[in-house]
């Protein structure tokens, strides 16, 4: 009996994770449009529903009713697998996020490594989508996107390693406990800076969105996708964005710790602040060229994160772990 209970619980949690990502994507698409509008001194969608709140639902209805087009020479297996393999790891990374201390789907002892490793599978999906579309622009977009992703993975991992050094555990719930006195952003500011910038590169957002740049590559690796498959890519992007922001809150801002309100409210609130900062950056800065981007990763961020490791060791000594 308990076997079926365990398996059933796992299945239900999977469904919950997918629905959460779906709702978050819907909300964030609207949020992005409103934020970008205000930054550009206009108003954004206001007609569908009160203050434009039903805009995303309208978009979703439109997307679902679109014809599912597949280019004639596209490899059918890879064309279908690409969006799925991009979206699923983004959803999977929600499993180890503690929304306030007890609310975590699975309290893995290696939660932080899980969070860094599982989105790495997205690259396979990107390459498949770019290759399968049988189109030069998609292919280039896919290659650039994966090269960018794997290049920025290393400084990001090293920045997270410094936090793990201070916290002494790979468990995500332990990180909440460890920051009860002082959030790590005060102890490790350079790690925070490196993490925020490399995360922007990981989720393909400006200033690192060369793979999707409309003026360069039509739409990069998702040029040939329409309707629901295209929305899977967007699910992946906004899901990964929320997960990365939640992780930034967890690692650096002491997510969940706060005076009066319940931990969940603090956690979600801080995460939304970080997401707002990401969106603010997107609509303020111009984008990097592909070679500038790669040069930044290998010649600036990698040495910086290595130096940061030494600095973190000094901080550890000072704090007295």
């Amino acid at each position: 009996m308990s076997t079926w209970l365990t398996l059933g619980r796992g299945f239900v949690l999977g469904v919950v994770a997918f629905s959460m990502v779906g709702v978050i994507t819907a909300a964030f698409v609207l949020l992005e449009r409103k934020v970008s509008a205000r930054i550009q001194m206009r108003v954004g969608p206001t007609r569908t529903g009160p203050h434009g709140l039903l805009q995303t639902i309208a978009d979703l209805v439109k997307l679902v009713m679109k014809e599912d087009v597949r280019p004639e020479f596209a490899d059918p297996v890879a064309f279908r697998l690409g969006p799925m393999l991009t979206a699923v790891p983004a959803v999977l990374s929600f499993v180890v996020i503690p929304f306030g201390a007890p609310l975590v789907m699975r309290d893995l002892n290696v939660g932080i490594v899980y969070f860094l490793a599982v989105p790495g599978m997205t690259v396979v999906g990107l390459l498949l989508a770019g290759w399968a579309s049988y189109d030069n622009y998609s292919f280039l977009g896919g290659l650039r996107s994966s090269a960018q992703f794997i290049s920025y993975e290393i400084p990001r991992t090293l920045a997270v390693v410094t936090v793990v050094m201070l916290a002494g555990s790979l468990n995500t719930v332990d990180l909440l406990e460890a920051q009860k006195t002082v959030p790590y952003i005060l102890l490790l500011p350079l790690s925070f800076a490196i993490y925020m910038i490399t995360t922007l590169a990981e989720v393909n957002r400006v200033p690192f969105d060369i793979p999707e740049a409309e003026s360069e590559l039509v739409a990069g690796y998702h040029t040939e996708y329409s309707g629901f498959r295209w929305s899977l890519f967007f699910l992946a992007e906004y899901g990964a964005l929320f997960a990365a922001a939640a992780f930034a809150t967890l690692l650096f801002l002491g997510g969940g710790n706060g005076p009066v309100l319940p931990a969940v409210v603090w956690f979600v609130g801080k995460t939304l602040v970080v997401v707002f900062v990401f969106m603010w950056v997107r609509w303020t800065l111009p984008r990097f060229r592909a070679d500038q981007l790669m040069r930044l990763a290998w010649k600036v961020f990698l040495p910086a994160s290595l130096v940061n490791l030494v600095l973190a060791a000094l901080v550890m000594m000072a704090v007295g772990r």
Binding site: S2, T3, T6, L7, D75, V77, A78, L81, L108, N109, V110, V113, Y114, L116, A117, V118, G120, M121, V123, V124, L127, L128, W131, F139, L143, S146, I150, E153, L170
Partner: protein, 163 residues
């Protein structure tokens, strides 16, 4: 029958099926994707064997690194043709050999008597850390040197335009 047993069988069947498909299919891309699925199933098996850190390293390095590398090599070396590969000769003899080897391994496993598996350790990471930087320190550092050598070799090989 516990949940972990059910999952063990599921992951095992997925791993064997993906390995078989990867080895038999005539399309290169599908072979590599099958390898990716196989590696993820094996990572699941690792997790069920109380080796959670090894499972994460497997996903990080194998799926996120080696499969990506193979896909890059595929894309740089087939110049746009997506024809199926030629069939292979020597299939009968190879199958016989593989059956013999597999049969021998399975027969040895079934016949042996193992002591009871001791209790699951609470967390593998502290023990792994102590082992890597204690007993196995030399091998650990040497692995770093091997990786450095591999990076330099790969760069040197790929950079030379003239042969």
């Amino acid at each position: 029958m516990m949940a972990s047993d059910v999952l063990f069988v599921v992951f095992g069947v997925i791993a064997a099926a993906c390995a078989l498909y990867g080895v038999l299919t005539r399309y290169l891309l599908r072979s590599i994707v099958a390898l990716g699925a196989f590696l993820t199933a094996v990572a699941g098996e690792f997790y069920l064997l109380a080796a959670d850190f090894v499972a994460m390293v497997q996903i990080f390095v194998y799926v996120g690194g080696i499969v990506v590398l193979m896909l890059f090599a595929l894309m740089l070396s087939t110049s746009g043709e997506r024809q199926p590969l030629a069939g292979s000769d020597r299939r009968g003899l190879s199958a016989l050999l593989a059956y013999a080897l597999g049969g021998m391994l399975v027969w040895a496993s079934v016949g042996a008597k193992f002591p009871a598996v001791l209790d699951r350790l609470p967390a593998s990471v502290p023990y792994l850390g102590r082992a890597l930087l204690g007993e196995q320190l030399f091998a650990f550092e040497f692995l770093g040197v091997i990786l450095l050598a591999a990076v330099v070799t790969a760069l040197a090989l790929v950079r030379s335009e003239r042969l």
